[in-house]
Amino acid sequence: MRTMHAWRAMSGIVLRELYRFVRQRERFFSALVRPLVWLFIFAAGFRSTLGVAITPPYETYIAYEVYITPGLLGMIQLFNGMQSSLSMVYDREMGSMKTLLVSPLPRWFLLTSKLMGGVMVSLLQCYVFLGVAWLYDVQAPWAGYLLVLPALILSGMMLGALGLLLSSFIEQLENFAGVMNFVIFPMFFLSTALYPLWKLQESSPLLTILARYNPFSQAVELVRFALYGQFNLPACVYTSVALAVFLGVAIIGYNPSRGMMQKKGSRL
């Protein structure tokens, strides 16, 4: 694998994802509307419910909108990760994945490039969302908007890798509804995206444990701390490990000789 060759292939795959996203205007708006509905409507209804504990990285009292903004960034990336997995299933059903996988480059590299493409799309969505939130008076320190970039890349890769992993198991597009019910909703609601752990602890210790070890929570906390100029090492380690596991299993899943592809190889 020559570097130039690899670079050309990766930029080709990433650009294809970006073009596809930008050209599908309705997808762009729906991706943006979803978190904005949560920010403008859901958060308005729960404005005074957060209570009075100050939890890091915050150093003072915050409005609920401020609290859920990093969670909504996570939501964007979670949906984007799942959307990529949907597009993988679509590509496979339509046969266009063949074109990609017959390339002489290693399969792990192609899958990682595909993952990077999804992450770039999610970054675009996240920054547009942060811009709208800024106009809505949900403002982080200026440095936070720069420092959150690496955190968003890592969390986006982890959630994208989860999508890749799921796509290696899904046989048909119709099964994607199951992903909504069994992956997206539990992951999102059982996390620190909408409520801090101490609030969850008041109602259920079991849910607190599940939320604490949910990789989505760790990704959200990594993003939350970075947005306020702080580095959350445990969340970073946890998210990186989750990324390695999800990506590793996804690569195995896409290996024709070993993984799930063997079972559904005929459609590739």
């Binding site: 308005a44 404005r47 009075v52 150093e59 003072t60 009292y61 409005a63 200026w142 440095a143």
Partner: protein, 324 residues
């Protein structure tokens, strides 16, 4: 080249993280329930130490030279004189019963104390540590302020619902203005042309013209998601250039920012629970709030109006002063 790149990156980071730091100051916060005084590093937003003083400390004023603190210890029925460096008590002033709020004249020679139970304003000569006069005012006097030009002492009485105008030369009430229910705090603008008074029950800020001693504007507050009965305006601070005034809104947990020229509310800042009193840092780059129920103080950066930190200080923080 790499060194230049690094310097540029550092410069960019410093620009992004908020520019030059503000001057240091020391805050003294009275803790009503702990019978203590908390000392806080204002710039760092860190509690430095806590010292026991008298019973139920509330009102606090810094001497003009910054060397002494005057603290009303309500259940001791005195105003204590405390050395600001050592935090040792160096004397007491005869305040009358149950002193709570008091104000100092521009020269720093006299204190004017509201005696809530006796319906009096007590005038104290600080140097002589003696009472000069007791002036009868309305029922339950609470808020008190001395005009920066030294002409007036304004006292608000919570039950009579009046502002009593005391002529400082005569030390007598020369006029009264009827205001909205339960007037709590009073503050003059730096040019002594306006008096701002908060009415706790009506939930409004009243602007009085000093020349005519009439109410010229009534400013109400409306916060999305907060019920009207929670909006109970108390402490006031107005910047010396009269650009902005700030009003603590009690259980609404907000500080209202008022455009002091247009006399309109321009923003609400979320702080701790039951925000009561306010104070500027000596360089006016920060505003501090005492939050009685959440037991902390909040730091607000000016002129950005950004709440940056809330610092736990002890039980029932009441009054606050800042020393350079």
């Amino acid at each position: 080249m790499p060194a230049r790149g690094l310097t540029a990156a550092l410069a960019l980071f410093s620009l992004l993280s908020g520019g030059t730091p503000a001057a240091a100051d020391t805050l003294y916060v009275t803790l009503e329930k702990d019978n203590a005084l908390a000392v806080v590093d204002g710039a760092a937003g860190k509690l430095v130490k806590t010292a026991k003083i008298g019973k139920r400390p509330r009102g606090i004023v810094l001497s003009r030279d910054g060397q002494q603190l005057y603290v009303a210890t309500s259940d001791d029925d005195v105003i204590q004189i405390i050395d600001a460096d050592s935090l040792r008590k160096v004397g007491t002033l005869p305040s009358g019963d149950d002193p709570e709020t008091f104000a100092m004249d521009p020269e720093g020679k006299f204190l004017y104390v509201s005696n809530e139970d006796d319906n009096l304003v007590t005038v104290i000569d600080i140097a002589k540590r003696a009472k000069v006069k007791s002036i009868p005012v309305g029922v339950e006097p609470e808020g008190i302020a001395v005009s920066p030009d030294g002409q007036w002492v304004a006292s608000t009485s919570e039950t009579t619902n009046m502002v009593h105008w005391i002529d400082r030369a005569k030390l007598d009430v020369v006029d009264n203005t009827l205001v909205d229910p339960r007037p709590r705090a009073a503050s003059f603008t730096a040019d002594s042309k306006q008096l701002w008074v908060t009415s706790e029950i009506a939930g409004v800020l009243l602007i009085l013209d000093v020349a005519t001693r009439q109410v010229i504007k009534r400013i109400g507050f409306k916060i999305p998601g907060v019920t009207a009965e929670k909006i109970q305006p108390v402490g006031i601070r107005i910047d010396p250039h009269r650009r902005y005034g700030y009003v603590a809104l009690g259980p609404a947990n907000r500080v209202a920012v008022i455009d002091a020229a247009k006399l309109e509310v321009v923003d609400y800042l979320l702080v701790g629970q039951r925000v009561w009193n306010l104070e500027f840092s000596p360089d006016y780059t920060r505003l501090y709030t005492t939050n009685g129920v959440s037991n902390d103080i909040s730091l607000i950066e000016l002129p950005e109006h950004r709440v940056t930190k809330s610092v736990a200080v002890g039980n029932y923080p009441w009054g606050v002063v800042a020393r350079p």
